[in-house]
């Protein structure tokens, strides 16, 4: 009965009811990331505004509950934030995912994303959780605002 730590209710909720899903215009950059080992895919668009604001993050993709829920959680976290704020969260999330279950993650920084802590114990699934987040980081880099 190990799975309970991974399939948190919150993750299943986001998976069943994804927030902000669907590709929207306008956008500054669009990226397409694939997890080749499992076939999970995500297309992500980012629209940045003045003062480093994130105006919209829209996405579409397919994959497992972890990869899809991670995109949904990411969407919520970016709403109304600045690029700098969100990149700090991405950094903490990456650290958590690569911790192999050794750290709990800073809930202050991560918000809902802390629910993914259990995933970090499964090396094969870490990439699923990171897919959307890495795509987001990439898209932000390409939006040269």
């Amino acid at each position: 009965m190990i799975a309970e730590s991974m399939y948190q209710e919150l993750i299943l909720e986001h998976y069943k009811h994804p927030q902000g899903r669907g590709l929207r215009d306008p956008y500054d950059a669009e990226v397409h990331h694939v997890n080749p080992t499992c076939g999970d895919e995500i297309t992500m668009r980012v629209k940045l505004g003045d003062g480093g604001k994130v105006e919209d993050v829209s996405y579409d993709g397919q994959g497992c509950s972890i990869s899809q829920a991670a995109a949904s959680v990411l969407y919520e976290l970016t709403e109304g934030s600045t690029v700098d704020e969100t990149l700090a969260v991405v950094e903490e999330f990456t650290r958590l995912m690569q911790s192999r279950g050794q750290i709990e993650g800073d809930e202050e920084v991560l918000g809902d994303a802390v629910a993914f802590a259990g995933v970090s114990k499964y090396p094969a699934r870490v990439k699923c959780a990171l897919l959307a987040w890495m795509a987001y980081k990439d898209a932000v880099m390409r939006s040269s605002k």
């Binding site: 998976y15 080992t37 076939g39 509950s65």
Partner: protein, 419 residues
């Protein structure tokens, strides 16, 4: 259900099958198409050889060298007998099936070789199929890219069978080689070698079989099959990792250029040129997988004693049982033949609305059921069916019906989690 085959006794030969996984889960190993477990006999043969009889082969003339060489070459004899090779010299040890497939692919279009059968360039064609494992796709893609030849492929029908509708057009005078899988690692489909081969012979091309999934599960006789090359891999026939086998017709092995250069594959070396040893040594550069070949020899001994026909019958009964039991899981769709005709004990499926990764994870975490999820190194086949991934359960001689029951129970639970 009883299979009339003492799988329970056989399970005792595989220590891992009585292991408890962390969290007190039992192990339900349904991933043998990925890699098989190893019987004690294989493990012990390797341990004993490494601890007490090991030395390099071929080149050493002392007592240990003789013991090691004899054990290594005896393994070649065993493999030759196991697959019905007309000559032991036709058995080449590689590191896995992938190397065997690459070895043959690299034999084409080598400008140092002028045998017309192995010429490859613009206008020449290579034929594979849409149900191939990446290891029987990528080597040919790379060959086509290096030489300018054209890669073509058989399609797959909705039922998961090789589509031979355009056989005559696809395999034609331009075709140099046809390389297809004997048994699909996803669909379980066993392909009609004879029909394809008849056409290959008409046009004077060569034919290779990727037998990675057939040699473990049915009696394979290369002479009876009549193809030109056949590859399989040690770790799927209850043998160790690190060893695979290429069988090739002697006259073709003779006509091929060497692949890897180095010690043991030469006849004589000068600084500026070399002459090569006859096959199989021509293709075994460097120190071979000595201990692994010894393990593989023990593995085929083990399988031969049980009998591949008995193994095949057992798996057939398991497959019938599984197909029926899985049909009861709502939303489950088998990808591949749903009847037992020309199919092996590998069953891939989708579960509506639930990603295979989630299926596999929950099966493993909560029930200790080990299945494989993903595209199983056959991404084009999944593209063909418009799905990114499947869940695959695969059976072997040590599989018992209770394990299929555990799988089905697990699947019902998975559906509940994602309801």
């Amino acid at each position: 259900m009883t299979t009339g085959f003492d799988a329970e006794r056989i399970r005792k030969d595989f220590p891992v099958l009585s292991r408890e996984l962390p969290g007190g889960r039992p192990l339900v190993y349904l991933d043998s198409a990925n890699s098989a477990q190893k019987p004690t006999r294989v493990v012990e043969a390797m341990r004993e050889h490494m601890a007490m009889h090991y030395s390099n082969v071929g080149r050493a003339m002392h007592a240990l060298g003789a013991e090691s060489t004899e054990a290594y070459e005896a393994a070649r004899d065993k493999i030759a007998a196991f697959v019905g090779a007309p000559s032991r010299e036709e058995i080449v040890f590689t590191k896995n099936a992938s190397e065997a497939l690459n070895l043959v692919a690299y034999s084409f279009g080598n400008r140092t070789n002028d045998d017309p059968r192995f010429r490859m360039g613009p206008g020449d064609e290579i034929v594979i199929s849409e149900m191939e494992h990446h290891s029987n796709i990528v080597p040919w893609q790379m060959l086509a890219q290096r030489t300018g030849a054209t890669l073509r492929w058989f399609g797959v029908t909705d039922e998961g069978r090789l589509d031979l509708g355009n056989l005559e057009e696809l395999v034609n005078e331009r075709t140099k080689i046809v390389s297809i899988v004997h048994q699909s690692n996803v669909l379980g489909t066993v392909n009609p070698v004879e029909r394809v081969l008849a056409r290959v012979r008409q046009v004077g091309a060569l034919m290779m079989l990727d037998a990675s999934q057939s040699v473990p599960h049915q009696a394979v006789d290369v002479a009876a099959l009549g193809v030109d090359f056949l590859a399989f891999t040690g770790h799927k026939v209850v043998g160790p990792s690190g060893v695979g086998v290429l069988w090739g017709r002697g006259e073709l092995l003779d006509a091929m250029p060497p692949f890897l250069g180095g010690g043991e594959m030469i006849e004589a070396v000068w600084m500026d040129r070399s002459t090569y040893a006859p096959a199989p040594h021509k293709f075994e550069a460097g120190t071979p997988p000595i201990v692994e070949a010894v393990g593989l020899g023990a593995a085929v001994d083990y399988l031969s004693e049980i009998g591949l026909d008995a193994v095949a019958r057992h798996e057939r009964e398991l497959t019938a049982y599984a197909l029926e039991a899985l049909a009861d899981v709502p939303g489950l769709k088998v990808v591949g033949p749903r009847d037992l005709d020309m199919r092996g004990g590998t069953v891939s499926f989708t579960l509506e609305g639930i990603h295979p990764h989630d299926v596999g994870q929950i099966l493993d975490d909560e029930f200790g059921v080990a299945v494989r999820v993903g595209h199983h190194c056959a991404r084009p086949l999944h593209l063909r069916f418009g799905i990114p991934a499947t869940t695959r359960a695969s059976f072997y001689l040590y599989t018992v019906p209770a394990e299929i029951d555990a799988l089905v129970r697990g699947l019902h639970h998975v559906r509940k989690v994602f309801a």
